[in-house]
């Protein structure tokens, strides 16, 4: 009996507040917009049959016809891909250096990586507004050392979005790579070097393949949230920065078109299912390898 309660409470909670809400989103994505509260028809009040017969795929057709949505999905994917790659380029050398640091430093270095993660996400993104703006610190610095003669426009461009994503998601990239490199047996690299590999070749043929799972996990942990990101493109990006999270937010709050916002969400979810499944497979393989 106790076991039933133990299972039922969290199960029902998640069903009611996680799964059923998605069913609602899906239903509304098939509804029509209306000048009513709530602003869509049909609702459950109209009776089940009227409700079911009032549903159609109109909103999805609308999404494929309007350029804006195509461009937003594509540019979200592009921004997420590119910023994941940049995060890897910054994060891998850091994780590698941390794993090679003397034993007594590692706990401190690890804490220094985790600390920003506990600090407000919003504040960390906001910190860049003052740095990247026209009269911001970066421009002041570059003008002062004489690299540029006129201030660069960085804020409200895609470049600022890339910087923001790399900055906020860097810990997610470093931690799994570090834990893979930390477990790596140093004698394997020594063996490779003894057998005539150059340092670089040993790194390429031994270290990289053995940290592969960490790299994959880190990339997914950056890519998946970056794809649906809302705060970073809204705060650092410009009017030209199209990201689907931002489009959804605006469709919902500014245009009050709930059915279209729901359809945008359904498609975003469909796009995300592929990387999420791949990520979980990678995690499972890693868990099995650890046994």
């Amino acid at each position: 009996m106790r076991r039933v309660i133990l299972i039922a409470v969290p199960y029902l909670w998640l069903l009611a507040l996680f799964l059923i809400p998605f069913a609602v989103v899906f239903k509304i994505s098939l509804s029509d917009i209306a000048l009513a509260i709530p602003p869509y028809t049909p609702t459950a009040k109209d009776g089940l049959w009227t409700m079911l017969s009032g549903l159609d795929f109109e909103n999805f057709v609308f999404l494929t016809e309007d350029d804006l949505y195509w461009k937003a999905y594509l540019s979200s994917l592009q921004i997420a891909f590119f910023s994941t790659f940049l995060t890897l380029c910054v994060g891998y050398p850091m994780a590698y250096a941390m794993a090679r640091a003397p034993e007594q430093w590692r706990a401190t270095l690890l804490m220094l990586v985790i600390l920003p993660f506990w600090t407000s996400f919003l504040i960390r993104v906001y910190a860049w507004v003052g740095i990247l703006s026209g009269e911001g610190f970066l421009n002041q610095f570059l003008l002062w050392i004489g690299v540029i003669s006129a201030p660069l426009t960085i804020l409200n461009t895609n470049t600022a979005v890339y910087i923001g994503i790399v900055y906020t998601y860097l810990p997610f990239m470093i931690l799994p790579i570090y834990s893979a490199l930390d477990r790596l047996d140093g004698s394997l690299i020594e063996a490779a070097e003894d057998l005539g590999c150059s340092r670089l070749k040993a790194f390429w043929l031994v270290t990289i393949p053995l940290s592969k799972n960490g790299i994959i996990a880190g990339c997914f942990l950056v890519f998946i949230p970056a794809l649906g990101e809302f705060v970073i493109p809204s705060l650092l990006g410009g009017s030209g920065t199209l990201m689907i999270g931002k489009v959804l937010f605006e469709e919902f709050f500014s245009n009050r078109d709930w059915p279209v916002a729901s359809a945008v969400a359904v498609i975003l979810l469909l796009i995300l299912i592929i990387p999420i499944v791949l990520f979980q497979r990678n995690e499972q393989r890693q868990a099995e390898a650890g046994k």
Partner: protein
């Protein structure tokens, strides 16, 4: 592997400067006397004074704190239950769906979670306010708690529990006297994680709150959309300071408890 090459040193230095410089600049300029945030005009704490006399910010901070304490407590209870079910629950009908529902919210974009919960609340005619934010935060942070707790449950020696049961403890007593004390550090860090996630959340709170409840991130959001402001810098400094103190205190506490455990082990080994 303890040979740091110059390249390693450079990448670490560059990386940590990149991670910390923006926040450092924010902290320094919160003490700037000028309203212009990029021009230094002398040391002053006037923005802190203005912040503390700003009722809208204080109200929002109070709402946020209440939501965070309540939702992280619920999330810890539900998340620990869920972790126990996942690790020790054996097979039951719909187990795959259950573990899917635990892991999916971890990677779900906030805009989708927020939108779906809002549409549910409107669908069932629930007034939006503090309660709906608490429900939303509990739901997504219980999944984080459950991941943290289940990783601890997986690594601990199950024979301790079995011994307690053999010696006549009821399953509930075994859980309370043996399992809970052992997983306590994970439960506490789960609570802290849920608490910070709730404090930090902007998107889900914006969707699920009504006109009666504004959280601190929502308040910060509406003022930073207009640009950089010294008051927000002051507020950020306070928040960064609190987090830093918290994390340092937690790491000292865990280091000390690890030392104590080691001493106990050594004492036990000597006694044998």
């Amino acid at each position: 592997m303890t040979r740091l090459s110059p390249f390693n040193v450079v990448s670490l230095t560059f990386g940590f400067v990149f991670l910390y410089l923006p926040m450092l600049i924010l902290v320094i300029y919160s003490f700037n006397a000028s309203k212009l945030v990029t021009v230094w005009a002398g040391f002053s704490t006037k923005w802190y004074g203005e912040l503390l006399s700003n009722d809208a910010f204080l109200d929002a901070a109070w709402v946020t704190l209440r939501v965070a304490v309540i939702s992280s407590t619920f999330a810890t209870v539900l998340g620990t239950m869920a972790a126990y079910v996942l690790v020790r629950g054996g097979r039951f009908y719909g187990r795959t769906l259950f573990s899917g529902m635990i892991y999916a919210p971890l990677v779900m974009p906030e805009v989708i979670t927020g939108l779906s919960l809002l549409l549910l609340f409107i669908g069932i005619g629930m007034d939006r306010g503090v309660l709906t934010i608490v429900l939303a935060h509990t739901t997504f942070s219980m999944c984080f708690v459950s991941v943290v707790v289940s990783s601890r449950l997986m690594t601990f020696d199950q024979s301790l529990e079995e011994a307690a049961l053999d010696l006549g403890a009821s399953p509930f007593e075994a859980f309370r006297l043996i399992t809970l004390p052992i997983i306590a550090p994970a439960v506490i860090s789960g609570w802290l994680l849920a608490f910070t996630l709730s404090l930090d959340d902007l998107v889900i709170a914006s969707f699920t709150s009504g006109p009666s409840a504004t959280t601190l991130p929502m308040k910060i959001w509406s003022s930073v959309r207009l640009g950089v402001s010294p008051e927000i810098n002051a507020l950020s400094t306070i928040l960064i300071g609190l987090v830093t103190i918290g994390v340092i205190a937690a790491s000292i506490a865990s280091k000390q408890s690890a030392l104590r455990a080691k001493r106990d082990e050594q004492a036990a080994a000597r006694a044998q």
